[in-house]
Structures are given as structure tokens and as C-alpha cells.
């Protein structure tokens, strides 16, 4: 639906068959001196490929989720139920060799249900801390807009600080920690929509969309593969994931030209007739860090304008405040029109 139809995400993402021909695998460069960094993304490619078996036709959301994860961000998936959000989260966690926790949000969910709580142990004669589901690497938070604001803010705080404080004691969350939250855009009754300021904490907001006819036929033919998902072998381990994180952060080069381009985008969001508020500085940082991860996914150790451009539909719309008269319009289209007006450095 929305995600697949976003045209600012150009053919680079869509046309994978083409890229196969063109992308040169590490060590096989034809031209020039070798980059200083060994781009080690074939495993990522493999993950996407293998998970595609379980999520037919969900390449793009899968890829975007990984980009979000590898730029150390949290992901918000807004879509209807039953389109494979949970499958996606589990698949990522499994294939990266990470632990997985799940929170099903309801209106009576308490903050301690997420963070965990201390329970008196009779035999030991003291309180014992029982960590909640948040103490996992990948936490799926289903239907976050059904939780009460109190619970939401406990979760969002944990996302921001990467630690939780329970009864005066602070517990560090795992170093690799990423939340995948989902929300249902249609059912509004009895929900507490996330305030805009909270949305800024999510690095990207994506949709999954209906599968294509062929893909759906395949699903119908073979039935749900959710069970098998729990049995797949991890492609990486925690150390490898951490290394890739560090690689992206340190070794992907961002030229001043790119920064200027990003700044032009940011300025455009702050200075136009559609928005009442543009990108925050956190939002600006997001543009760069996601672009770096995206460049890495494309086997580059430098960022090109397209890295920012093709992700802008997922990084920008949920961070800007639209004027009321434009609320009804397609926000991605507006953002796209803004970005299409900004000259690229090359």
C-alpha cells in the first residue's frame, strides 16, 4: 500500500535484479583503489533473501527495518493487523541471533508489565527483580496506541535512555536494543494515539502493505510459515551485529556536500507553507545516520544524495507537523514534492 507506492523511493530499491548485475561484490572492484572499508553486507543481503521466504513480497519493509535497526533506531510500523508485522520482527531477531521480546499493548497494561518488577521472595527474604520483556535485543510492541499514555511514556523513555529505573534502581538495557512498535491506523476507538513529540523518537515509520497477488497466492498455497520462523538458523551473532553497527558509524564517509544537501532539506521542512514545524535536530541526525546505514547496504562507504532521498518518505513525515488544512493530504507526497525541489550536489 503506502510503502510500496512511495515513488521517491527510486528504482534502486525496487529493481533488485538490476543491482545484482551492477553491484560489485567486495574484493572484486574493477575500478580504482580499494576502499579502506571492506563492505561486509552480503550477510545482510542473505538475511533479506532468506526472510523473503517467510514474508513474500515484503522486501522493502524488511530492508527498511534493517536500515532502521543498523542505524541504532527504533521502528514504528503503521498498518492493519494481519499483514506480517510480527513475523517481520521475529524474523529479524532470529536471523540476527538476537533475543526477542513481545509486548501486547492493552489499555490495562502497566509500566511494570514492560519494565519488569521486584517481587518478594519468601525463601530468600528479599525482593527479587524480575526483568520485563523490554530486556531483550528486539522488542516488538504490538498496537502501541492501545496502551495508556503512562505506559507509552515508560516505554518511550526506555527507548530514549536505553535504561529503566524501577524502585529507585537503574537497570541498563542490552547494548543492542531496538523497539519495533506497531499501531493500527484505522481503529481509533479506545486508543491513545502517540503524540507527535513521541513520534520523533522513532527513527522511521513504515507501512507493510498488502502482498502482491502472486505472493498472496503463494501464502495461501503453503499456509503460514510462522512456526518455521522460530527454527531458522541465525545468520549473524551479536558480536557481528555490533561490528557492523560500528562500521556504519565510523567508516561510512559523509561529505560536506551531503551535509549541505541534508541541511537544505531540513531548511525546506522548516520553511514552507505546509508545515507548522519542521525537522528537529534529532530528525536531522536521523537523516544522516539512516543515510549512512543505507549507503552501507548499498555496498558503499560514502553517502550519496539518493541515500537520503529514498529514505525521506520514512524518516520525515512523522516528524513534521502539518497545518490543519493539509492534514488530509498524503503527507509523503508533500514531503516528496519538497525534496524534489532541492538540487542535488551532483
Amino acid at each position: 500500500m503506502v510503502a510500496a507506492g512511495f515513488p521517491a523511493c527510486p528504482s534502486v530499491l525496487a529493481d533488485r535484479s538490476l543491482r545484482k548485475h551492477l553491484f560489485v561484490k567486495p574484493g572484486q572492484r574493477k575500478y580504482g583503489k580499494m576502499e579502506t572499508m571492506e563492505i561486509n553486507n552480503h550477510k545482510i543481503d542473505f538475511i533479506i533473501k532468506s526472510l523473503s521466504n517467510y514474508l513474500q513480497g515484503k522486501d522493502i519493509p524488511l530492508r527498511l527495518s534493517l536500515v532502521s535497526f543498523f542505524s541504532r533506531g527504533h521502528l514504528l510500523i503503521e498498518d492493519l493487523p494481519g499483514l506480517g508485522k510480527t513475523t517481520l520482527a521475529i524474523g529479524i531477531a532470529r536471523s540476527l541471533g538476537l533475543t526477542f521480546g513481545r509486548i501486547q499493548c492493552t489499555s490495562d497494561l502497566l509500566p511494570t508489565d514492560i519494565t519488569g518488577l521486584s517481587i518478594y521472595n519468601k525463601s530468600a527474604g528479599e525482593f527479587e527483580f524480575h526483568p520485563g520483556p523490554i530486556f531483550n535485543n528486539i522488542v516488538l510492541c504490538d498496537e502501541i496506541n492501545r496502551a495508556t499514555p503512562k505506559t507509552q511514556s515508560a516505554l518511550l523513555e526506555a527507548m530514549g535512555e536505553k535504561q529503566v529505573t524501577i524502585e529507585g534502581k537503574t537497570y541498563k538495557l542490552p547494548r543492542l536494543f531496538s523497539v519495533i512498535a506497531t499501531q493500527n491506523p484505522v481503529e481509533q476507538f479506545g486508543t491513545f494515539p502517540l503524540p507527535e513529540s513521541q513520534l520523533d523518537r522513532f527513527m522511521m515509520k513504515i507501512g507493510i502493505g498488502y502482498p502482491s497477488r502472486d505472493a498472496e497466492k503463494e501464502i495461501l498455497k503453503l499456509g503460514s510459515k510462522r512456526e518455521e520462523l522460530y527454527t531458522i538458523e541465525p545468520v549473524m551473532n551479536k558480536e557481528e551485529v555490533a561490528r557492523i553497527h560500528a562500521d556504519i558509524e565510523k567508516n561510512v564517509y559523509v561529505s560536506d556536500k551531503i551535509l549541505d544537501y541534508a541541511l537544505a532539506i531540513i531548511e525546506a521542512t522548516r520553511n514552507n507553507e505546509y508545515f507548522t514545524a519542521g525537522l528537529s535536530t534529532r530528525g536531522a541526525l536521523t537523516l544522516i545516520s539512516t543515510a549512512k546505514a543505507n549507503a552501507y547496504f548499498h555496498s558503499r562507504d560514502f553517502v550519496i544524495p539518493e541515500d537520503i532521498k529514498e529514505l525521506s518518505g520514512y524518516t520525515i513525515p512523522h516528524r513534521v507537523l502539518f497545518k490543519e488544512e493539509y492534514e488530509a493530504l498524503d503527507k509523503k507526497e508533500i514531503v516528496k514534492s519538497l525534496i524534489e525541489a532541492i538540487p542535488t550536489p551532483a
Binding site: Y253, I258, N271
Partner: protein, 671 residues
């Protein structure tokens, strides 16, 4: 949409403009309908720079013209690309180099031109910098100096035109600069700009008449306003109206100036500045006896070149007016001429005076009859030894030959010139001739005169100055106090008074002044400035000022006043304009090649790909552009180029010649 933006900024949550206070003044902030103050200031500054160049370019070397224009166009390019590639320290050291270089080729004869050339280069360097408030001010100062230099080179009507334009430009620009220094991001509407320009016109409109008034009034004051600066504060050594021997043993040299004479350059050995004639000797000192005032005319029989001098005489607490030997006229209020060709002013010269003199350069004054006893006077107590000596030398019958042998006696090397350890005695002449055998000009002249008189030849001592340094810059002789000199005039019956200088010619302290190290040159330069100040400002007389005004007036009124364009001139200007254009092109090409190889490669790529019918929009990324190409072959080969290009471009790598070759190859293989 514009309106929308302007109003929207008032209640925006996250500040879209940098200053919250100024948001309501949308007029000043809106970049669409207004001029940036920076742009206006820049435009004016470039106009000022160009004006300075146009004013002086005819007077300076072609090399400097070209250098200035190249640097100037480079700075224009920098402004255009909004990047100042050359760091400030490089430019500063370059400026220092220029200054050193101009010191190195420092030549007095051509000083103003050299200074203008150096200033022009400094100006161009200033333009290359990323300009701040003080840089603008420096540019204006340099252009003012350039124009001042032009005033020294040629003072025709165009100078006034340049000056007026410059004054108006500068006042406007300085007013704008004050705004600019407050907030560089200000925007003005057209009306505001016009208002500011008109308002700042008032300043020169008021200031120029006041300045003119000052120009007329200031030099007219009897006592110069700045008189205290130049006041004679101590009695100076040098010229006196009597010559005393045997009183001081050491004479301190005083290198301060006694006079400056604006005149053409003449032979060095003719440089005798006549002051006083002394005829009475009492054994130790010479005095001037009474003499008659005469009319200011010259015996018609005298031949020689007549030289006109304008003399600026420093205060020296006596009344003699100096002029080149032999002076005929001196035009000074109340000046009297005596029959021995000396001039005396009515009062003591206690401030700097200016007078005109006409002299005829000759060694002899033809005079048929003289009061011989007066010039044969002898002191009573003169040593008989001297008389014996004279008798021994003057063996000829002929007066001229006797004179020559006495002259030769004093100049045969036995008697030496000295300013130190002079005999302090009651009989200085005797001690000089027989004991110490060294002395200064006073001893030589005295001895020569007395010996001549003993031999029966009438003679007298003349006091004044000898030599002087010609300042090419100001066109005048500078005569220092230490050049005070006395010489002798001998009366030869058939000829008249003949000038003889018995002092040995080895007195090289005159000459030593003429060569000189850098400090001396600098002092000469300063002296020239000093001179001009006296000549042009302090001693300017009212008639001269009026005549300048009249000449300006008449040249404006002159119906045939026009820029004379004959064919040669047109050709000249055409050549200049063409070479200008050529330079601009060359620089553009050079700068392009150096600074945007990437852009060049990219435009080559776009050109090639345009042949296949693809055109990249400005907002498309390269990969994005390439990926949409339907033709797979072109897409793939283009992608190969794009990938390689991006790898260099977005990693901020300098393109090596190899890289360029490779990229060009990749572009070529697109098909």
C-alpha cells in the same frame, strides 16, 4: 506565497529565521523583494576599486595593470562562487612581499609611480580576501591613497571628477557599512536603498565646501596653525655673519636643513649658495664692513646661465637671504640688495620663508673699479712670518700667477681639512699655516685671503653654503646646515671678482650625503613630503589658490573640453579592453580547471548522455537519474561511470590526473 511566508514566520514554533526580534520586520528580511546589504556594499566596493584602477592605470607599468586586473577578476570569481579559496595568511604574506619588493626597487626619481603600483597590488590582494568590515575600510583607504598619488602625477580636471565620484561612493558605502557591521543579513527594499544613498549624499555636500573654505583660509593665517611643530627651538650651528677663527676646536655637524631650493638640476661644482661677503679681518674674525644698497640689476656684460629658484629658507635668526651664486634678483618683501650681491631681509628670519630668486651661474662678477683699500685691509698684529711666506711664494710679476701659486701652496696636500682639534689660539692663522696645518674652510679661506692681500691682490671672503642634495622627487635642492661654507673672491683687474675655493676638494662630507642607505633614502622621502607640505599648503599664496580655481573653472567652461578620441587612442583603449576580456577568460578557464574538475567531468558526462536523449534535472541524484534509463546498455555503462565518479566526489577526494583519465574513459564507453 511570499506573503504567506512573511506572515507565517511570526508564529512559527521552531524558529525559521535566526533572530526572533526581527521577525515582524518582514520587509527587511524577505530575500525575494529586497537587496541584501552585503551585495550592495560589495557592488559599491568593487566600483570603488575599479575607479581607483581606472584613475591610475595610464600612469603605471603594464605589468601592474595586468596583475591588478587578473587578481581583481579572480576576486570577482571568488565572490561569484562565494568561496574564498586562498587563506588569509597567504594573502598577508603576499602583501608583505609586495611591500618588500617595492622597497627593493625603490628609486627616487619615480617614487610616486612605484608607490601607486605597490598600492594597486595591495588593493587587488585585499579584494581576494573574504572581506570583513575592516577590509572594506582598508580598501577605501588604499583607493584614497591611489587617488592622492594620481594628484601628484597629474592634476588635471579628471582628477577632480574621480575624486568627486569617489567621495560620493565612499560616503554611501560607509553609511551602508555601519548597517552591515550591525547585521550582515539585513535586507533593504529599493526605496530604502535610494533613501540611504540620498541621505548620505548630504555628508559630502556639506563637507566639500567646508574643506574648500579651509583650503583657502588655512595658509592665509599669519602664524600657521601648526607653527609650533616647526618652531626653531635652538640656535643652529652653520652660517654666521662673522667668521671667527681659533675659538672652538671641534665643530659639530648639523644635518638639519637650512634651505630647500626648487629649481632645475645643475652641475655640482656650481652649487655655491651666496649669503654674506666679509671684508674686514681683525686677526681672529671676519666682519662685513658697511656697504651700499644697489638696484636689483646685473651688469649686462656678465654671461652665464640664468637660473630661477624658489627657495624655502628655514628660520635661522639672521637676515641674509641665500641664493645661488651670483644672485641677481630676490623677490621678497622688503629685501635689499647690496653691491656685493648679497641680500638682506628687513627683519630676522624667525619663521620659514619662501622667496624667488634669479641667479646667473658664473664664476666672475665683472666690476671695473673697486675700493681697493677696503679689500687690502690687514689686521694690525699680523705675524711677519706670514708676510715672509707670501714673499717667498709670490715670485711672479703677474697677479694671476701669484694668486695661482698661493692657491697651489694651500692645496699641495700639506694642509688638510678637518673639523676636529682646530687650534684654539690668539693667532689662529699663524698656527694654521705653520703648526697644526689643518683646519676647516674658514682657515683655508682666511689664509688665502690674507696671503692674497699681502701680495697686493684685493680679495674678500664669501659665506654661504656649498653643495646640496637634489631631491628628484620634489625637484629641489636640500641644503643642510653642515654644508655651511666660506670661499674667496679675488679681484683680478681685467676680469673682476673671481670665485676661488681654497678649501681642499677632498671634503667628501658633502658627497657622503648623496649616497645612502635605506634610512637615508627614507629621510629623503620624508623630506620631500615635508617640502610638499610647505610648498602646497603652508606657503601657498592666495593668488596661486585663486589661479587654480580659475584654471579649473576655465577648463570646465572651455567648450572644446572633451576626451580626445583620435584613432590611436581608440586603438589603445580597444587593445586594453580586449586584453581585459582575454585575461578574464583565461582566468576563468584556469580557475575552472583547478577548482571544479568534478564539475567539468560531470558536464562532459551530461553532454554525452544528452546525445542519447537523457537529461538530468538539477534535483535528481546521479544514480536515480541513471537507474530510470530504459536502455539497459546505456544504463549499465552510465552506472559504471556514476559509481566511480561518486566514489571520488562524495568522499571529497582530489581528482588525480589518473582519475580524470579513467572517468573520461568511462564516459567515452557509454553507448
Amino acid at each position: 506565497m511570499n506573503k504567506n511566508r512573511g506572515q507565517g514566520s511570526g508564529f512559527r514554533v521552531q524558529g525559521t529565521q535566526n533572530s526572533a526580534i526581527r521577525i515582524p520586520q518582514s520587509e527587511f528580511r524577505n530575500p525575494k523583494s529586497a537587496f541584501s546589504i552585503e551585495t550592495i556594499v560589495k557592488i559599491i566596493t568593487y566600483l570603488v576599486g575599479m575607479l581607483g584602477f581606472i584613475a591610475v592605470f595610464r600612469h603605471i607599468d603594464v605589468f601592474f595593470n595586468i596583475a591588478f586586473l587578473s587578481l581583481f577578476s579572480l576576486s570577482l570569481y571568488f565572490e561569484y562562487s562565494k568561496k574564498f579559496y586562498i587563506p588569509r595568511w597567504v594573502l598577508n604574506s603576499l602583501s608583505l612581499l609586495v611591500i618588500f619588493f617595492s622597497f627593493y626597487r625603490f628609486k627616487l626619481s619615480d617614487l610616486v609611480t612605484q608607490i601607486i603600483e605597490a598600492l594597486l597590488i595591495l588593493l587587488a590582494i585585499k579584494f581576494i580576501e573574504d572581506k570583513k568590515f575592516r577590509d572594506y575600510m582598508q580598501i577605501y583607504a588604499i583607493v584614497l591613497f591611489l587617488l592622492a598619488g594620481l594628484g601628484l602625477l597629474s592634476l588635471d580636471i579628471t582628477f577632480i571628477v574621480y575624486l568627486l565620484i569617489l567621495v560620493f561612493l565612499l560616503t554611501t558605502s560607509i553609511v551602508l557599512l555601519t548597517y552591515y557591521s550591525q547585521d550582515p543579513n539585513l535586507y533593504f527594499t529599493k526605496q530604502t536603498v535610494i533613501k540611504i544613498v540620498l541621505k548620505s549624499m548630504y555628508i559630502p555636500l556639506v563637507a566639500i565646501p567646508v574643506a574648500v573654505l579651509m583650503f583657502v583660509i588655512l595658509p592665509r593665517t599669519q602664524y600657521p596653525i601648526f607653527h609650533f611643530i616647526n618652531r626653531a627651538d635652538k640656535a643652529k650651528t652653520g652660517f654666521t655673519d662673522n667668521v671667527r677663527l681659533g675659538v672652538v676646536s671641534d665643530i659639530q655637524e648639523d644635518s638639519s636643513a637650512i634651505l630647500r631650493a626648487n629649481m632645475e638640476k645643475i652641475e655640482d661644482n656650481a652649487l655655491y649658495w651666496r649669503g654674506i661677503v666679509l671684508d674686514y679681518f681683525d686677526g681672529t674674525s671676519w666682519k662685513s664692513s658697511t656697504k651700499d644698497v644697489t638696484s636689483m640689476s646685473f651688469p649686462s656684460s656678465s654671461k652665464g646661465k640664468s637660473v630661477r629658484q624658489i627657495i624655502y629658507l628655514e628660520p635661522y635668526e639672521n637676515r641674509y637671504l641665500f641664493a645661488l651664486d651670483k644672485p641677481v634678483y630676490i623677490f621678497y618683501r622688503g629685501a635689499r640688495k647690496y653691491d656685493d650681491f648679497t641680500f638682506i631681509s628687513t627683519g630676522y628670519i624667525d619663521k620659514r620663508i619662501r622667496y624667488e630668486a634669479v641667479s646667473i651661474i658664473t664664476d666672475t662678477i665683472s666690476e671695473s673699479k673697486i675700493e681697493e683699500s677696503k679689500y687690502l685691509q690687514m689686521p694690525d698684529n699680523l705675524s711677519p712670518e706670514i708676510a715672509k711666506l707670501v714673499k717667498r711664494i709670490t715670485i711672479h710679476k703677474d697677479e694671476t700667477k701669484n694668486m695661482q701659486s698661493i692657491y697651489a701652496f694651500l692645496n699641495d696636500g700639506t694642509y688638510k681639512y678637518s673639523l676636529k682639534n682646530l687650534p684654539v689660539t690668539k693667532n689662529p692663522l699663524e698656527d694654521f699655516l705653520f703648526l697644526s696645518k689643518f683646519g676647516n674652510c674658514e682657515y683655508f679661506a682666511s689664509a688665502f685671503t690674507i696671503m692674497l692681500r699681502l701680495a697686493g691682490i684685493p680679495s674678500r671672503v664669501v659665506g654661504g653654503y656649498k653643495g646640496g642634495y637634489y631631491n628628484d622627487l620634489g625637484g629641489y635642492y636640500l641644503v643642510p646646515q653642515k654644508n655651511a661654507h666660506v670661499w674667496v673672491e679675488v679681484y683680478i683687474r681685467e676680469k673682476g671678482w673671481v670665485r676661488m675655493d681654497p678649501t681642499p676638494a677632498t671634503i667628501d662630507h658633502f658627497a657622503s650625503l648623496m649616497k645612502g642607505d635605506i634610512f637615508f633614502r627614507l629621510s629623503v622621502l620624508l623630506d620631500a613630503v615635508n617640502y610638499y607640505w610647505y610648498a602646497m599648503i603652508i606657503n601657498y599664496n592666495f593668488e596661486k589658490q585663486l589661479s587654480i580655481f580659475y584654471s579649473i573653472k576655465s577648463s570646465i567652461k572651455k567648450p572644446n573640453f572633451k576626451f580626445s578620441f583620435n584613432k590611436v587612442d581608440i586603438a589603445k583603449y580597444l587593445v586594453i579592453v580586449l586584453s581585459l576580456a582575454g585575461i578574464v577568460f583565461a582566468i576563468r578557464a584556469a580557475v575552472r580547471f583547478d577548482n571544479s574538475k568534478e564539475k567539468k567531468i560531470l558536464s562532459l558526462f551530461q553532454k554525452v548522455i544528452a546525445k542519447h536523449g537523457y537529461k538530468k534535472t538539477k534535483t535528481q541524484g546521479l544514480e536515480e537519474f541513471v537507474m530510470q534509463m530504459p536502455d539497459e546498455k546505456i544504463r549499465q555503462s552510465s552506472y559504471a561511470f556514476v559509481r566511480e565518479f561518486e566514489r571520488l566526489y562524495f568522499k571529497d577526494k582530489q581528482l588525480s590526473p589518473d582519475d580524470i583519465k579513467k572517468l573520461k574513459y568511462l564516459i567515452k564507453s557509454i553507448r
